[in-house]
């Protein structure tokens, strides 16, 4: 019966939960105040933008891609918001709608480039990162504070939690995003297509999936989430700054991988990414509480966790390929065990 629940798909997620519980237990043993809802509330608020980015990134990675531009898109969003609200005096709601639409279109462009140019996603999104960061810096190289009554209200809005904690609006948005992302990925036909694309794009196409459309939508969603993260971050800091979110794409990818999503695509989910984000936040909180440890330990710890999870994933793949199923060939394809040319791929290229 164990095999029913502990299989190659749930093992990484299970490992993530165990790691989280261990770290949390260690934290709580050392600093009992960390157990309280106050710390947890802050944890959610401080990492709200990262969580939202992780939702978008999860969808892209499950689809077999990657997006290195999310940090830059987030930065561009904060500057654009500041300019629109402070400079142009636009009501926040309209500005929000504008940047969200812009983010979605930007992502659709990325997806179209990935699909039609047949270029690797990382290089396309790298280019997009330069573009977004450059545009953001052209708008303003300085941090622009946002003075707006509605903004202050939104930023301050919070739900009181027992024990003196607060669930802020931005934390709420993050939680809602995770819920929505979960429903999208696991509950809709679109979600099934995303998993199919990440499992094997060629097979998915054979099974009648429009891979181009799916790729474009996936990237549009990811950039939309990056724009939403930008909104949340600007509410959090009440300012816009072009260099916001530098390097945060790596944190988002780390959260996704630590959450059990395979970087090769096709397996994963947002629940794991949520825990991945919490683990990162928890380590940072621990280091802050400790006081003697320095913040760079966070990066080293995340890097080590990232390596451990990638190693485990690789190991599972190798082991299941070698011993897992009857009929599964050896890991290294040899001329004889190579799958026959699939239909459509059989056409010899013109000399």
């Amino acid at each position: 019966m164990m095999g029913r629940f502990v299989n190659t798909r749930t093992l990484p997620l299970l490992a993530t939960v165990v790691v989280f519980v261990l770290i949390y237990a260690a934290c709580a043993a050392q600093y009992p105040t960390m157990l309280g809802l106050r710390v947890m509330g802050n944890l959610l608020t401080d990492n709200a933008f990262l969580g939202i980015l992780a939702v978008g990134m999860t969808v892209v990675v499950v689809a077999g891609g990657i997006d290195l531009s999310v940090g830059a898109v987030m930065g561009l969003t904060t500057v654009a918001l500041a300019r629109l609200i402070e400079g142009a005096g636009m009501p926040p709601a309209l500005a929000f709608a504008l940047v969200l639409a812009g983010g979605g279109l930007f992502g659709a462009g990325i997806g179209a480039a990935v699909h039609y140019l047949k270029a690797p996603a990382f290089i396309v999104t790298l280019t997009a990162m330069f573009l977004a960061r450059g545009c953001a810096l052209l708008i303003s190289t300085d941090s622009i504070p946002i003075h707006n009554a509605a903004y202050d209200t939104l930023a301050g809005a919070a739900l009181a939690l027992p024990g003196g904690g607060r669930l802020t609006l931005v934390a709420g948005i993050m939680l809602a995003t995770f819920l929505a992302g979960g429903v999208l990925l696991h509950g809709t036909r679109f979600g099934a297509r995303v998993f199919a694309l990440g499992g094997n794009a060629h097979f998915a196409q054979l099974m009648g999936i429009n891979t181009g459309r799916t790729t474009i939508l996936v990237h549009a969603f990811c950039s939309l989430m990056a724009a939403l993260a930008g909104i949340v971050f600007s509410l959090y800091t009440r300012s816009g700054y072009a260099l916001t979110g530098t390097g945060v794409e790596l944190d988002a990818i780390a959260a996704v991988v630590i959450g059990g999503t395979l970087l090769t695509g096709g397996v994963g989910g947002v629940a794991g990414s949520f825990i991945g984000v919490l683990i990162q936040g928890l380590i940072l909180t621990w280091i802050t509480f400790d006081g003697t440890l320095s913040s760079w330990w966070t990066k080293i710890a995340i890097g080590t966790l990232l390596f451990a999870f990638i190693a485990v994933q690789r190991l599972i793949l190798v082991v299941s390929a070698r011993y897992g199923r009857p009929g599964a060939g050896p890991t290294a394809p040899s001329p004889s065990t190579r799958p026959r040319p699939s239909p459509g791929a059989a056409a010899p290229s013109a000399p």
Binding site: R189, A192, G329, R340, A346
Partner: protein, 515 residues
Amino acid sequence: MASPETPVTPPPVVLAARGLTRQYPGVRALDGVDLTLRAGEIHALLGENGAGKSTLINLLTGAQPRNGGTITVDGVEIDPDGPGGAVRAGIAAVYQEITLLPNLSVAQNLYLGREPTRWGLVHRARMNRDGAALLRRFGLTIDASRPLSDFSTAVQQLIAIARAVDLSAKVLILDEPTASLDTAEVQTLFTLLRTLRDQGLAIVFVTHFLDQVYALTDRITVLRNGRLVGERLTAELPRLELVAMMLGKAPTAESHLGRRPATAAPSGTPLVRAQGLGRRRLVGAFDAELHAGAVLGAAGLLGSGRTETALLLFGVETADQGELIVDGKTVTLRSPRDAIRLGFGFCPEDRKLDGIVAGLSIRENIVLALQAKRGWWRRLPPARQRELADHYIKLLDIRTPDAEKPIQLLSGGNQQKALLARWLATDPRLLILDEPTRGIDVGAHAEIVRLLEDLRDRGMALYVISSEIEEVAAYSDRVLVMRDRAPAGLLEGDTITPAAIVNAIAADHQTKGAA
């Protein structure tokens, strides 16, 4: 043996393909082929590599566009454009390599793109229920919510068939469905296929196991070199004649064309001796002796294990049983480099994927193996490289304006010669060739055969795998016949005739005799 009852009125034709043609630059992969499929019939589609089976299937499923011919389903002409079009017309295909998604659940695979929904969301419970019910009709009682990768290849195959039949239930094409199944699994599959046949489905069954052809199918279409050889009732086609149709040789022809006069089989200490060499799931234990100045031929149908013997002899795969003795010493080959160090060379069957390095020049392709043997530090001087390349271009008559042209611009025959040159440059003692003349035009074909004979006469040991029976018989001193991934006989001396080889390939080892 299933002996189909012959109905009084012939069953209605479901699919009729007429004059299907597919032209690639320089090659006509399919040349005016007809295929007629009748309702309630299992139709075997047979042929060797390059016969055009895959191309024919790709044209039927719309995976490739056709250059000529018509396809009608139930009398209506169709023009499948992509997999979707063929499925709508009622044609579905299931491949040996299961083209389902192992990361999705069984039910998700069954209903991808047409999932039952409720309030805009996928109705998972209903999908799993429907999936399980659908599979039960195909004799599978499994939990459809589990990931596909939890199940064996055989079960995945049945799931793929269930999906295909559920999507479109007129024509089901099965491309080598039994290649990775064991005997019991094959029986399960056959039971299902017979049921589907009795329900009126037209089934195309592609395989290289002749026993299965006779056990299951009602009618046979044989292709060879992109052309239709013939369509026959299985019950009326003796096994020997079938093999002859596939290989393009009359079984009775006693041709000794080009055979060396009365050479005794080589004796003395062989250069290489394989004793019971084999690897689980790859090829059963076989013996082989390779002598300097002699050719060991290997014959057998596609999938008989003939290629796999070469993989073990060249260290591409490591044997897990038996012994390989070179120069009187037992050796273990863990990689091709080990084999090359012993003076072996290998021209693989798939020139494009395993042979040439497209993008590099002819010169670079020719010197690659020699350079790898010397190591990265001792680079062949450019002058020496050019000299080598020019030497072999001249010697083997590789037709190219100069050695710096990218190798992919050469024709198939000239690519093969360049690959031969790659190994000749290393001055090998043993050269292993897998289908050296496949897909090569007639002129180049004869040249390559002459070349091999020349190499043999100059004292090289050759191991030549080929489906050109007449050629194998002509230049081999011994012939190893493979069948069903195991050795099926060794012919020597005067017993080597095309007819004897065809006989050995076709022999029904279950001693049941043709029905």
